[in-house]
């Protein structure tokens, strides 16, 4: 066994990863940038930036409606992106992929088009205490409109979900169960396989918030067999403004439209309008075409490296980060989950998270400080904010070392 704090080896296929990301060559306050805010948004590799420029310089046109060549090419490229994403997630069919602005819109779409029409006063929606606001607020708004109730499964002090409690809250009135796959705030990996299986046994539709997992591990939809899964492209090396909702085709088929407009209709008259089949039914108006093109390029980039390689390396790196932070003077980890991915959160005796963020920034180190859009989770730990370091495939053990060195400066200033 290696000793607890030994840094992981960067695998061959990741050694040159940084070079693909132009922003990582930038300096911040005269220091080379150490970007550890990946859970908020990842950086973009050159092939993604190039794909966007190429699209606007060579193929740009509105899609789905044109006979001319640009439009035909743009349509083909956009729809190919859907196919690529369906394969990346191993969906049954590409019609199960609805393009959205991101995880937030995807969840709101499910709330409006799937859940609202079937929700009765007294029905329940189940989530966990680990959720991001995106997987809380849409349900609260819906409960207010319908008289349904939000049930929240608790967590243990280490940040693990209380799985038994979650399962026992799945009752006869539960009309949807929502669960974050990986917590953006404290890095907990939830045992979604177990939860999905239980939901299926009880015939409860289940939505997985995969905003923090699709970029770090293989998500296999046919194996998981959940009803809905959501994520945001910008957290996965893709452009801003694009993301997706996966919905099982049998669910999507039952759902009412979301936004109304062009491209989602079969036939419009002032008397009667009919709608297209999924996924078009849920994609009103001109979509973010360049976003789809960039999404496809990002998948190619990730697959060229290999998701297993990334997952394996990142697991070691985040463990290394947690170990080193835990041992750092004056640092207290918030959440020490059994399975961790991507992020580690902490507070310091000497300084507030905000101050930590500012001081690290002057060292060129970008972390996030605040509630991470998880106010209820912060409340559970009796705090209002943490400092959070989160990694992506281009981070190195040296980045973690720089972070720990930066925290020593915090202690120096405030200690």
């Amino acid at each position: 066994m290696s000793e607890p704090h030994s840094p992981p080896q960067v695998p061959e296929s990741l050694k040159k990863a940084r070079d693909a990301f132009p922003i990582l060559k930038r300096t911040v306050n005269g220091k080379p940038i150490v970007y550890l805010d990946n859970a908020a948004s990842t950086q973009k590799p050159q092939p993604v930036i190039d794909a966007i420029s190429h699209y606007y310089s060579h193929e740009n046109a509105n899609i789905h409606r044109g006979v001319h060549l640009l439009s035909t090419e743009a349509t083909a490229a956009y729809e190919a992106a859907r196919g690529k994403l369906a394969r990346y997630l191993n969906a049954n069919d590409e019609s199960e992929i609805v393009f959205t602005r991101g995880a937030t819109e995807s969840i709101n779409l499910v709330a409006h088009s799937f859940l609202e029409p079937i929700l009765q006063p007294g029905d329940e929606i189940l989530i966990s205490c680990l959720e991001h606001h995106a997987n809380i607020v849409p349900w609260q708004l819906l409960c207010e409109r319908t008289g349904a109730q939000l049930k929240v499964a608790p967590i243990f002090d280490n940040g693990d979900l209380d799985v038994d409690a979650y399962l026992s809250l799945m009752g006869p009135r539960t009309k949807l169960a929502g669960l974050v796959h990986v917590s953006n705030a404290i890095g907990t990996v939830n045992p979604i396989e177990v939860i999905i299986e239980a939901a299926k046994a009880k015939d409860i539709p289940i939505l997985i918030d995969a905003a923090q997992s699709v970029q770090h591990m293989t998500v296999n939809l046919q194996a998981l067999d959940c009803d809905f899964l959501v994520f945001s492209g910008h957290k996965m090396f893709m452009p801003t403004g694009i993301g997706a909702l996966y919905g099982k085709r049998s669910r999507l088929d039952q759902m009412r439209p979301y936004q109304g407009g062009g491209d989602m209709i079969a036939h419009v008259t002032f008397d009667k309008t009919t709608f297209k089949k999924p996924p078009s039914r849920f994609e009103a108006g001109t979509p973010h075409i360049a976003g789809g093109i960039g999404l496809a390029a990002a998948i190619d980039y990730i697959e060229a490296i290999g998701r297993d390689v990334i997952h394996e390396y990142e697991s070691q790196l985040i463990t290394y980060a947690a170990d080193r932070l835990k041992a750092a003077p004056g640092v207290r980890l918030i959440g020490e989950p059994t399975n961790r991915s991507g992020a580690v959160s902490f507070v310091m005796e000497s300084a507030h998270a905000h101050d930590i963020g500012t001081i690290l920034d002057t060292e060129g180190i970008a972390i996030r400080s605040g509630h991470h859009c998880c106010e209820p989770l912060m409340g559970r730990f009796g705090i209002s904010a943490t400092a959070r370091a989160s990694i992506a495939l281009y981070n190195t053990p040296e980045d973690i070392d720089a972070l720990v060195a930066g925290l020593a400066k915090v202690n120096q200033l405030f200690g």
């Binding site: 439009s71 035909t72 349509t75 083909a76 079969a266 036939h267």
Partner: protein, 144 residues
């Protein structure tokens, strides 16, 4: 003139689109369906009269482009005398084949449907050619 374009608008196709066969309604059809291409607004209604399991006659009404019109015209002629099952299978194969860029349409040498072969070079027009065949399948599944 562009050679793909020539191949697309063959004489047979233009003849059928200018002067389509079997255009019109069948009163009391045994099967019928109205289909629309939401991308362009093209619309076709297909009517089928059967005797037993066989298609006795097929007619159509349409507001559509030349390719869709020619395809519909040829269809009505082509499926006469087929059983419903045969025509459904044929329509399925044909629609599939249009979307395969590199395989020729599964037709005998002298089949006039070959006139539609050129559509394959125009991806945005394939649906124009297949719409009548989709309507046929839809009609077969709709008992009047």
């Amino acid at each position: 003139m562009n050679s793909d374009l020539k191949a697309l608008y063959r004489d047979t196709l233009l003849k059928h689109s200018r002067d389509p066969r079997n255009r019109g309604e069948i009163e009391d059809p045994d099967h019928s369906a109205c289909l629309k291409n939401p991308l362009c607004g093209d619309q076709i209604t297909l009517y089928i009269a059967t005797r037993g399991d066989r298609i006795e006659s097929a007619r159509f009404e349409a507001q559509c482009c030349s390719i869709c019109m020619a395809s519909a015209s040829m269809l009505t002629f082509r499926v006469e005398g087929m059983t419903l099952g045969e025509s459904d299978a044929f329509a399925a194969t044909l629609a599939e084949a249009f979307n395969q860029a590199n395989t020729p349409l599964p037709l005998l040498e002298n089949d006039e449907l070959h006139a539609l072969e050129g559509v394959k070079s125009f991806p945005s027009r394939i649906r124009c050619a297949t719409l009548p065949w989709e309507a046929l399948r839809e009609a077969i599944s709709n008992k009047q």
